[in-house]
Amino acid sequence: MISLAGRDILHSWGKFVFTGIGLGLLIGVTFTMAGVYRGMVDDGKVLLDNSGADMWVVQQKTLGPYAESSNINDDVYRMILTIPGVERAANATYLTMQVRKGDTDVRAMVVGVATGDIRTPGWPPFLAAGRQITRGHYEAVADAATGFALGDTIAIRRNRYTVVGLTRRAVSSSGDPMVFIPLKDAQEAQFIKDNDSIVRQRRRTAENSDFNRPGVPGLLDAVIASQNSNPYVNAVLVRIRPGYDPERIAADIARWKRLTVYTRPQMEEILVGKLIATSAKQIGMFLAILAIVSAAIVAFIIYTLTMDKIREIAVLKLIGTRNRTIASMILQQAVVLGLIGFVVGKITATFAAPLFPKFVLLLSEDTMIGLVAIIVICALASVVAIRMALKVDPAEAIGG
């Protein structure tokens, strides 16, 4: 038995394929939109993965360090190290800023990492070029997305840093690429004011007679020195020894050290549930509309394709073709159209993804869900067309 659907597709294959490709582009956009959403969530997860921490110790009653600002003294990590079960604890600072790059600037998250080795939480987990930071000052590892190359000089506040390494997919929760610099420099970058305000502050202090007493030499110098110290960091990243319960250690720190502690699931909840919640909903809304529009367009196309050959279907009926054969012909055509659309959509999305400024993550699960959804939508869409085809009067084949 010959395939009716195949014969019909071959008969007007050009129209059919081009319709499929058009549909594919639409599906491609839907896939990309899903990828944008997944990318946003992944940005948050990759930020937590890259930090290499099991828990985050932050200023009491803040959602820091990513979602809110948090400042704690930089010697807090020493008390945390004494808690049983803590394997490593390291200071970290995070500061999102525009980093000068030649005549322009790039938005980047400047991360201050404690000196040490790869075991230290906060270090870039892998490199794509160059080397890790070895000096305690004035070296930087930048994400490739910043556009910096090895050997470039980055100016952050008053200091210049040499790019010694490049990493990939080191991004903040909002997708800004990271620049890793030594902690002490980062503390300066974050907490020390610009030179002009330091000078103004000095003058202001000198004018205050409480601090500038004639009979107490050295008091003014001491006050000014204390104003310019910066013993703060944004968070302490903590890694737990295997076999210990992070929840319990977190509760211990929160209770006895009077700080707020977030474990990995809590932090994920903050990043995904709070930080990107609105933008994720926005994207999700858009995705839903796109899916509905795509489904409607598939239905229209199949309906029109069937209507185009309504006369031929009448002839088929006239010569005694069974309804089932006609129905399966339309269904098969719809499914084939969907498959072409899926293939083209997947190709388009894959090639379009790297062109986006932010990360677009195309998950295989999404692709599979997409495939099933397309087939279901096509099948449902063909129902209307099938009904039309079955209702057609065979007399139309000969009639006007």
């Binding site: 294959w13 075991r119 987990p125 892998f126 070895t134 004639p214 072409i340």
Partner: protein, 397 residues
């Protein structure tokens, strides 16, 4: 006629379908979880490394002098300005002596008066002496006359008493003279003291050096010990360098160093570790060391300028060594991704010393010649398929 038409249609159909199918296949295999990760590999080499320590610090003068008055007072004159070279003993500033000069003048007068009193006392002594001699002579004469009974007994007793009074008067005159001399000495000593005090108000340079700061101007009142002038010895500058305690192993006296001054870009000046401080900074978690210049740069760097010091430690014997970019932390274990038969396997390693160029010695876990992943386009996992490439740009795409 029918067949060729059918065949042409099939051909065109295939021409469209095959590229799409091929593209789809490429997309499925080259993206997503099935895609291989582009990596760059290296072989473990046996090489010796020279670990180095990196610290920053500020230029400081080894000897700095804070020159100020020992008692509270007002500055009357400042004779030098910042940057001037001065010699040992040169007068730098003077404090206002207030009433010191007047007090010295008063004492001068007192001394002169004391001298006059001495003269008066001396004259009194002479006078008493003369009276005593006369009284003695009279007494003697009356004694002889008494023997011949030519004077009355009353007369002789009167003369004897006169003589005793004259003796006493002389003794009193002598005492007066001594007192006047003591008075003179006291006044002279007072005057010497005041002159010393006045000399103390003149602030002099203790050594040859350069004026670093002029902290006050004439007319300012200073408390005792407050510095009017800061002076340094410019021939003894050093870097007060701070080294993070995590990377300060091997820091000791005598190691050679490279000093880079912030104002002089990338030119480095040779130096040497002069001293490692006994006390570390417990707040900043840094060890401190003084790094001296081999040859003092000309012009001299300003005191307080930021400087970087790189200390080169002695070369270590050759061991297997790898770039530090290859070392990764997977599940709390430090190791490297070893390449074998197109697959990667995580091998825990023990790392040893490292240098500032990013080479790490491997103590345990790898053999010379092992192929390891140094760079990768994404984070590797044990199940990752890899694609070895030699083009660094491919990893950054």
């Amino acid at each position: 006629m029918k067949l060729p038409l059918l065949r042409r249609r099939t051909l065109i159909l295939l021409a469209v379908a095959i590229p799409i199918a091929a593209l789809f296949g490429y997309v499925v295999l080259r993206s997503g979880p099935l895609a291989p990760v582009a990596v760059m590999t290296a072989h473990v080499e046996s090489r010796s490394i020279s670990p180095a320590l990196f610290g920053i610090g500020t230029v400081e003068a080894r000897f700095s002098y804070k020159i100020g008055p020992t008692i509270a007072g007002r500055i009357s004159k400042i004779l030098v300005d910042v940057g001037e070279k001065v010699r040992a003993g040169q007068v730098l500033a003077e404090m206002d002596p207030v009433d010191l000069n007047e007090r010295i003048a008063a004492l001068d007068a007192a001394i002169r008066r004391a001298e006059a009193s001495i003269k008066a006392a001396e004259a009194q002594v002479d006078d008493a002496m003369a009276r005593k001699d006369y009284a003695q002579t009279q007494a003697k004469r009356y004694e002889q006359l008494w023997k011949t009974r030519s004077v009355s007994e009353v007369a002789i007793e009167t003369k004897r008493q006169d003589s005793q009074v004259a003796f006493a008067t002389l003794a009193a005159a002598h005492s007066n003279l001594v007192a006047a001399q003591q008075d003179l000495q006291r006044n002279q000593a007072d005057r010497d003291g005041l002159i010393k005090q006045r000399e103390n108000l003149v602030l002099c340079a203790p050594v040859d050096g350069v004026i670093a700061a002029r902290n006050a101007e004439p007319g300012t009142t200073m408390v005792a010990g407050q510095a009017v002038i800061d002076m340094i010895d410019p021939n003894n500058l050093w870097i007060n360098a701070r080294f993070d305690q995590i990377a300060a192993m091997g820091l000791r006296k005598g190691l050679s160093a490279q000093i880079m001054l912030r104002s002089r870009g990338r030119t480095s000046i040779p130096g040497r570790v002069f001293r490692v401080e006994v006390l570390a900074d417990s707040v900043t978690e840094e060890n401190l060391a003084k790094v001296g210049f081999g040859v003092l740069p000309d012009p001299l760097p300003p005191i307080g300028e930021l400087a970087e010091a790189t200390i080169v430690l002695p070369e270590l014997p050759a061991t297997p060594a790898i770039p530090n970019a290859a070392v990764q932390n997977v599940g709390g274990k430090v190791g490297v991704w070893k390449v074998g038969g197109g697959k990667v396997e995580f091998v825990p390693v023990h790392t040893g010393a490292s240098d500032l160029d990013g080479t790490v010695q491997i103590v345990k876990g790898l053999q010379v010649g092992d192929e390891i992943v140094v760079y990768s386009a994404s984070r590797l996992a044990g199940t990752s398929r890899i694609r070895v490439t030699g083009d660094p740009a491919e990893l950054l795409k």
